[in-house]
Amino acid sequence: MHFYRVLIVLVIGGYLLSPILDQWWPNSSTPWYRPFIIWAALILIIAILERRRRSDEF
């Protein structure tokens, strides 16, 4: 449970800080597809973590 509590704190923290990300996205010097690259990178990390999951885990 300890691990999940930490995760929940991180998620809530990330959620509250997400507007900062919004303000950074529209920075005109960055290309329009920049949010999508970050999103894709996140998917890649999750996919790698998922592959490392032990097969007998629920």
Partner: protein, 965 residues
């Protein structure tokens, strides 16, 4: 551009027929199982989330407020990123307890029918605007393609078609957990079509309209105002509300909940979806900006919601237009079908069945099916009415957003289910009513009141709609928290809460039934379900658990009860299932761990090892170590709980008693089969904690065992019993005692022989001399008698000496290869010379090919002794047989006579020295002892079978087993 009406109707019907065809051929098994159960199919089926809101409405949002449109995609992706923490645990609960909707989940968690009913009603209220916009989108898109007909008529036609399809796919089996692979594959096909449509149109827009990525950059540089919309800082409060709204919506919306948890049972697929679904959403979202800018470039962005459709019309491309139309149709039909099926099941379980309980009838299943079909039709009717009275007046994307945000009110309930065992039904219901009340009264009633587009403007120009949503959610959470803290949870609810907690194990949550036979469960359910249905349900449950109908032990009964509740839950929902099973329950303590639960917990801990982490994993390792120590203990160990029921039975116990742990667990000692039941029960009740070398006859074999016990608690019934098998030790001790006795007799015999021999020789000499001293016939006869008697003494002394020497002269033993036939022939010949032997028939059936290794003189002595004994026991003109059979490593020789046999009490003493059944003076009692010793010296064994002839109850058979080499 104006499409022919027939063409459009044909396209729509062809598409829906193809979709139904896909479902049909999947269920008929014509599609490979590898494809059906592949995680990609599952991930695509979750694409049902991307409704027309994503396919059409998102362009309007992107045009108006730039990156805000990403909120729906990112919110949903975040839910999938957190799949191991949120989605997987929900899947575990729904799968274990056969829950088929969000209302089922809440009704189960809070053990409250009200919680289920409220969830069903609020889900219906929230889903109506969402279905309404689907109908609106399809009607409008058809209207754009063909202005010749009324969109109202098309909406009716569309609703009818979809209702028909939903009934065909979703109301074919009375059980809601019946695995409908057809629906999954059909929805996956739909999502694939949406994806292909979106990618194709985006690529066309990018390369054909914008002139490739370079051209797009160029155009954006020339039109900075278009990019400026994307550069506008987002309203952070609105952004956060939308993010949270879509995060909650994808978990709790009826159609996504149904696809994620009811249709799917594989946790592996859901793990794959944790990145697969965000990837799908990313591709769908990435296509939006190029298509939007292409639309702006072509000057068709004044109706942004249908931009994707107008793109094809503007470019005069029938292909693109048809693709966009089919994409929209897919998006709309997918969500309507799944949501309708799901809401129908919720209404059935939580609104209709509690009001009208199922009747005991043989047509129960068909009635349930018809109820579901009617509910699907009613749902479609309500959706149409909402569309025609309210939906028509509002923008597609705003109505959609409001609907999605409504589902946010279920988030506290979901999080409490997974992470907060203290939450209770009062808190949940009041919180939900408060949150939904604020939101619906301020938003949805505003919608219902407005009948023109100006009303739309009034409501949507509320800059604070997102604040109202957050206030409603805050009110929901605060009331939920406070009420849960201030009011008490029922025992049943606490048990349910712990079953839902993250990392918890499956435990029976209901009270235990006081039954012992599976038929009693049938009788319990019969009054409500009807005899046939009740029997069918129980038989199916027994079959799925690999049990047979009849008397069941406690663990199997708990398993059967839990499984039956799950099956009934799939038919009627958890509330009705629980009511059906708990009809006869009296108050029984629920808070305590029960013996039966310990077994279930242990069985599950064995399989859930890898799910534990941190301290729990360490404790589990410790538990395994201790359990293994007890299991592998070379002593039998069993423990009893406070009720005297067996809760532990280790491997050695299983091995020694031949009773499997699964058979004995939860039984009382007295109920174990003989001789264990009586022995262990008597021992558990006696005062002395030790019982040493207790003799027991098991399978006609002698066993000796020692028992030890120790109390486990203050309660006298709770104890641990150790069982030590001492049979080998006892046999060794017996043998040593026997040998010791033989040795002392040997020493005694040698001494006696020595001491008696000399005087007897003297007496014999004197008697001989006496014969020469006198002619008196009386004295001569007396002298002759003395000589005869001294000879007899000498013979006895010689046999004593022989006995004393046997076993002592191993090194002198003369081993050679012996032909058994020749040896026994010679023995028979010697015996037959005796007057006794002459009147008997001596048969030697031994095969001449059998050879042995041994001392021929000593073995001769064995056979002469045994044949002599046989002859002595045989009646006149009787027969004695010698037989031998060759085994793999030994030869078994039998000597059988027709005598009267040996009584059972004499058999055990037969080989003891000086034991004889012959008349006094006829035998010394040393013959068989000698035989025994000689056979032992040859590493063989000798046994007695009496009576040899079971039919006539006479005869004795001596069985000698000698090794071949």
């Amino acid at each position: 551009m104006n499409f022919n009406l027939t063409e459009l109707i044909f396209i729509a019907i062809a598409y829906l027929t193809a979709l139904f065809g896909t479902a049909y051929i999947t269920e008929r098994g014509w599609i490979s199982k590898r494809i059906i159960y592949h995680p990609v199919t599952y991930v695509l089926s979750l694409g049902v989330f991307t409704s027309v809101w994503t396919f059409y409405g998102t362009f309007a949002l992107a045009k108006e407020s730039g990156y805000s449109f990403l909120a729906s995609y990112l919110g949903a992706s975040a839910a999938f990123f957190l799949a191991p923490v949120i989605l997987i645990p929900i899947l575990r609960i729904t799968r274990t307890y056969q829950l088929s909707s969000l209302a089922d989940l809440f009704a189960f968690r809070f053990r409250s029918a009200t919680a289920g009913t409220l969830t069903a009603i609020f889900s219906l209220i929230a889903i109506l605007p969402l279905i309404s916009i689907q109908i609106q989108a399809v009607s409008d898109s058809l209207h754009i393609l063909n202005q010749d007909f009324s969109s109202d008529q098309i909406a009716i036609g569309f609703c009818t078609l979809i209702a028909l399809f939903a009934i065909l796919v979703g109301a074919r089996n009375p059980s809601l957990r019946y695995n409908r692979t057809g629906l999954i594959v059909a929805m996956a096909t739909g999502s694939l079509i949406k994806l292909i449509a979106m990618i194709t149109i985006a690529l066309y827009a990018l390369f054909e309209v914008m002139g490739g990525p370079g051209g797009l950059e160029q155009w954006l540089l020339q039109h900075p105002q278009e990019l400026a919309i994307f550069d506008t800082p987002l309203d952070s409060d609105m952004w956060r509300t939308m993010l949270l709204g879509f995060f909650s919506a994808i978990i709790v919306m009826p159609h996504t909940f149904h696809m994620m948890f009811t249709e799917n049972t594989s946790s592996n697929s859901l793990h794959k979806a944790s990145w697969g679904m965000p990837l799908y959403l990313l591709i769908m979202a990435l296509a939006v900006p190029p298509i939007l800018w292409a639309g702006i470039k072509l000057g068709i962005a004044d109706q942004p919601a249908f931009l994707i459709l107008n793109l094809g019309i503007q470019l005069d491309s029938n292909f693109l237009t048809t693709l966009a139309f089919i994409g929209g149709l897919t998006a709309a039909s997918g969500i309507i079908i799944v949501a309708t099926i799901s809401i129908a099941s919720m209404l059935q379980n939580h609104l209709i069945l509690p009001l009208m309980p199922p009747l005991a009838t043989q047509r129960l299943y068909s009635r349930l099916l018809w109820l579901r079909r009617i509910l699907i039709i009613v749902m479609m009717l309500c959706s149409y009415l909402f569309y025609s009275t309210v939906g028509l007046n509002y923008n597609l994307h705003w109505l959609g957003t409001l609907a999605f945000i409504t589902f946010m009110q279920f988030l506290p309930g979901i999080l409490a289910t997974l992470f907060w065992p203290g939450a209770n039904r009062n808190g949940f219901c009041l919180g939900l009513i408060a949150g939904m009340g604020i939101w619906i009264s301020s938003m949805l009633t505003g919608l219902l009141g407005g009948d023109t587009l100006t009303a739309d403007a009034v409501i949507m120009d509320y800059d604070n709609w997102h604040q109202i949503a957050i206030y409603a959610l805050t009110a929901n959470i605060i009331i939920f928290l406070l009420t849960s803290i201030l009011t008490r949870s029922s025992q049943e609810e606490i048990a349910s809460a712990s079953a839902c907690l993250h990392n918890s194990l499956q435990r029976p949550v209901g009270p235990q039934l006081n039954i012992s036979h599976s038929d009693e469960l049938v009788e319990l359910l019969s009054p409500r379900l009807g005899k046939t249905t009740a029997k069918r349900e129980i038989d199916q449950a027994l079959h799925e658990l690999n049990l047979v109908s009849g008397e069941l032990n406690a663990i199997d009964l708990v398993r059967l009860r839990t499984h039956t509740e799950s099956r009934l839950s799939a038919l009627f929902g958890p509330v009705e299932a629980s009511t059906l099973l708990n009809q006869q329950i009296k108050t029984e303590s629920l808070g305590q761990y029960r013996t039966r639960d310990i077994h279930l917990l242990e069985a599950q801990l064995e399989t859930y090892q890898t799910r534990l982490s941190g301290l729990a994993a360490e404790l589990d390792n410790l538990r395994r170590h201790h359990r293994m120590t007890l299991q592998r203990l070379p002593l039998g160990a069993c423990s009893l709980d406070e009720k005297g029921q067996i809760i532990f039975w280790n491997e050695e116990m299983e091995h020694f008693t031949g009773l499997q742990a699964s058979f004995v667990l939860t039984r009382k000692l007295l109920n174990l089969p003989a001789p264990w039941g009586e022995l262990l029960n008597d021992f558990s009740r006696q005062d002395n904690n030790h019982l040493l070398s207790q003799h027991l006859l098991i399978n006609d074999e002698n066993c000796w065992l020692s028992l030890h016990k120790a109390s486990l608690a203050d309660d006298p019934e709770s104890m641990v019993i150790l069982l030590e098998n001492e049979t080998d030790n006892q046999l060794l001790v017996n043998r040593l005692t026997h040998n010791e006795r033989l040795a002392s007799i040997g020493r005694f015999a040698a001494g006696v022989a020595h001491e008696i021999g000399n005087p007897v020789t003297g007496i014999a000499c004197l008697a001989q001399n006496l014969k020469y001293e006198t002619d008196d016939p009386y004295i001569l006869e007396s002298a002759e008698q003395i000589v005869t008697q001294t000879q007899r003494i000498t013979r006895i002394v010689q046999s004593l000496v022989r006995f004393a020497h046997s076993g002592l002269n191993d090194e002198q033993q003369h081993l050679e290869k012996i032909n058994l036939k020749e040896l026994t022939d010679e023995a028979l010949h010697l015996v037959s010379m005796d007057s006794r032997g002459q009147s008997l028939q001596l048969n030697n059936n031994i095969d001449s090919s059998i050879h042995l290794s041994g001392d021929p003189q000593r073995l001769m002595q064995v056979f002469i002794n045994l044949i002599n004994n046989a002859c002595d026991a045989s009646p006149d003109h009787g027969s004695v047989w010698l037989d031998a059979t060759r085994e793999s490593n030994s030869v078994v020789i039998t000597i059988t006579d027709e005598g009267s046999g040996i009584s059972a009490e004499h058999i055990n003493k037969l080989f003891e020295p000086f034991f004889t059944t012959k008349d006094p003076g006829k035998g010394t009692g040393l013959g068989l002892s000698l035989v025994y010793n000689i056979i032992e010296e040859h590493y063989g064994s000798i046994n007695v079978v009496s009576p040899a002839n079971k039919n006539q109850n006479n005869g004795t058979q001596m069985v000698i087993t000698l090794p071949v080499s």
